[in-house]
């Protein structure tokens, strides 16, 4: 299977510099060639009932974090909001 690095990078929201494309293409191709060697197995996927996830009850969240604590790591904050580039004209 040949893979289109530029397309996959775009889907991944990544950009690969031009001088690195060739190396990435070669490495990714050899990785894909390795992983695609899998046999066809005549079976179906089933949910493991012994390992079902236990979801929490729909109850009030009691963790007490302030807006300031939660936004302390944000690259850009203004008036208590996260700043991002304009997305609507």
């Amino acid at each position: 299977m040949n893979i289109d690095i530029k397309h996959i990078a775009k889907l991944s929201r990544l950009r690969i510099e031009d001088d690195k494309i060739e190396k990435f293409e070669k490495d990714m191709q050899s990785i894909v060639n390795m992983v695609e060697q899998l046999p066809d197995i005549d079976d179906t996927l089933t949910l493991d009932v012994n390992n079902a996830m236990k979801l929490r009850e729909d109850v009030e969240v009691t963790d007490k974090y302030t807006r300031e604590q939660l936004m302390k790591n944000a690259p850009q904050v203004q008036a208590g909001c996260l700043v991002v580039p304009k997305i609507v004209d």
Binding site: L14, I16, I31, M34, I41, D43, L55, M71, P75, P85
Partner: protein
């Protein structure tokens, strides 16, 4: 013998008998860090001040006659992908170079409530993707047994810190071998617990269905003590299993009589160094001489484990790492002209090449038209591998294999060739695919003096069986040796 050379269990007994103080233990480990860290480079962040304060607090509690947890006052290092409130948590990535979590991982709440002393945050492969700790954005950790060699990965900082005496015990995380593989390379003991036995809440996700936090120590008993502390159900992790967990350390046995050990041919074939095979088989013979029964078993799908692992783990990683977009935390690119431009530049500048390869592989195998050919096939293979293990565990108690195919390689040796790097995980990935527990213990050295590891694999939630077998082996050989001289 310096305090930093002692085990957590010995130090715990000394504290109880008032033969030393927590402050003395912490000073000894910090002193060791001061002496060897420039060569080993195991830490991303050393928490000297808070470690001293915590040790002082423990000494005060002892003076007041308070009942303390056996691990109180014991220095522990934490892999840098485990969230520590108020302490930098970088995942060794530029993407999180400045990230300070506002909350603790569940394991950190446990470490703190046991009054352990956190020495700092340990280096790792970026986002735990790698097998040598060379993909770290910050530094290259060295193997304490030979500073020109890699410590393994991705928990390379954790294993190197414990091996060099820069920590008494450490926490790592294991998605495809990341606790066991560096433990083997550095000559220490590392346990990858059963999936669901240790809460993943606060562990920065790589592949959520495979990730598991676990302990690294210089003795099996130390590993059992830390595992007893960190295991248990947690409502913050929906995959955490709500069962009764034993106190592994208190129950620890010292006997392999009647233990049925399975030897799978598939783990002793091509690609495994002869000296590694010999060392593991000699260890198995030693256990047999001490009363264990050895049986040949077969795990025929092992040949497909690596393929399935890289499909499943990368698929999950591509989704998990979508959150790093430069909006809410971490790195953001400087110049951009639109939202998409900001996303793409932030991610391209913030992630290293190995992380990019995994995100792209995951995106590819999940992309339209390819799902059935890759992801679904890998999931079916996962089912098959798990079934083969279940069948094997009907006949044996533990399965013994090499942990890694060879001794630690030279820094830089495999960096140009991702497939060669991936191949070092060949003996460990199956265990994550099947969600099983496994422990790596030192079992001899290669001709050039590098540690060799034996992996013991157990059935789901059978950590006690693994720890008992490993503990018996440790007493038979009279311990795993001293901390290496670091030159």
């Amino acid at each position: 013998m310096e305090l930093y050379e002692k085990s957590a269990f010995e130090l715990s007994e000394m504290l109880k008998a008032k033969e030393c103080s927590a402050a003395e233990i912490t000073e000894s480990v910090l002193g060791r860090i001061g002496k060897t860290e420039a060569s080993v480079e195991a830490y991303v962040t050393v928490c000297e001040e808070s470690a001293r304060e915590q040790a002082k607090k423990v000494d005060e509690m002892i003076a007041e006659g308070k009942e303390l947890h056996p691990l109180a006052g014991i220095p522990i290092g934490i892999k840098d992908n485990i969230s520590t409130k108020g302490i930098l948590t970088t995942c060794s990535s530029k993407m999180l170079y400045n990230y300070v979590p506002p909350f603790n991982a569940t394991v950190m709440n446990k470490v703190n409530s046991a009054e352990m002393v956190v020495t700092g945050k340990l280096n790792m492969d970026e986002f735990a993707m790698g097998s040598s700790t060379e993909t770290s954005y910050f530094k290259k950790t060295k193997n304490p047994h030979d500073l020109t060699r890699i410590p393994g990965g991705s928990s390379g900082g954790s294993a190197a810190a414990v091996a060099s005496g820069e920590a008494i015990v450490a926490l790592g995380s294991d998605t495809g071998g990341s606790i066991r593989q560096p433990s083997a390379y550095c000559g220490v003991v590392g346990l990858k617990p059963t999936y669901g036995s240790v809460s993943r809440f606060g562990l920065v996700a790589f592949a959520s269905s495979l990730d598991q936090i676990g302990p690294i120590g210089r003795t099996v008993k130390d590993v059992a003590m830390v595992q007893s502390l960190i295991c248990g159900h947690d409502k913050m992790d929906a995959t955490s299993k709500d069962i009764a967990y034993p106190d592994y350390a208190a129950n620890l046995k010292n006997d392999v009589k009647g233990l049925k050990i399975g030897i799978p041919d598939e783990y002793f074939g091509e690609g495994i160094d002869a000296e590694v095979k010999d060392a593991v088989m000699e260890t198995v013979k030693l256990l047999e001489k001490n009363g264990a029964e050895v049986r040949k078993i077969s795990l025929p799908s092992t040949a497909y484990a690596l393929n399935s692992y890289y499909i499943l783990s990368s698929a999950e990683a591509s989704s998990n790492l979508a959150r790093f977009d430069g909006v809410r935390y971490g790195y953001r690119t400087e110049n951009y002209d639109s939202l998409i431009d900001m996303y793409e530049k932030t991610r391209s500048e913030g992630f290293g090449d190995e992380v990019k390869r995994r995100i792209m592989l995951g995106t590819f195998v999940l992309s339209s038209g390819f799902y059935d050919a890759y992801y679904k096939k890998a999931k079916l293979m996962q089912k098959k591998i798990s079934a083969e293990f279940s069948e094997a565990f009907a006949d044996v108690d533990v399965i013994a294999t090499p942990t890694v195919p060879s001794g630690a390689f030279k820094i830089g040796e495999n960096m140009g060739d991702p497939l060669k790097m991936y191949a070092t995980d060949i003996c460990t990935v199956t265990i994550n695919i099947a969600g099983l527990p496994a422990i790596s213990v030192p079992c001899g050295k290669t001709a050039n003096g590098m540690p060799i590891g034996m992996q013991l694999i157990g059935g789901h939630f059978r950590e006690q069986t693994l720890l008992d077998a490993a503990n018996a082996y440790e007493s038979i050989v009279g311990g795993f040796g001293n901390i290496p001289k670091i030159v």
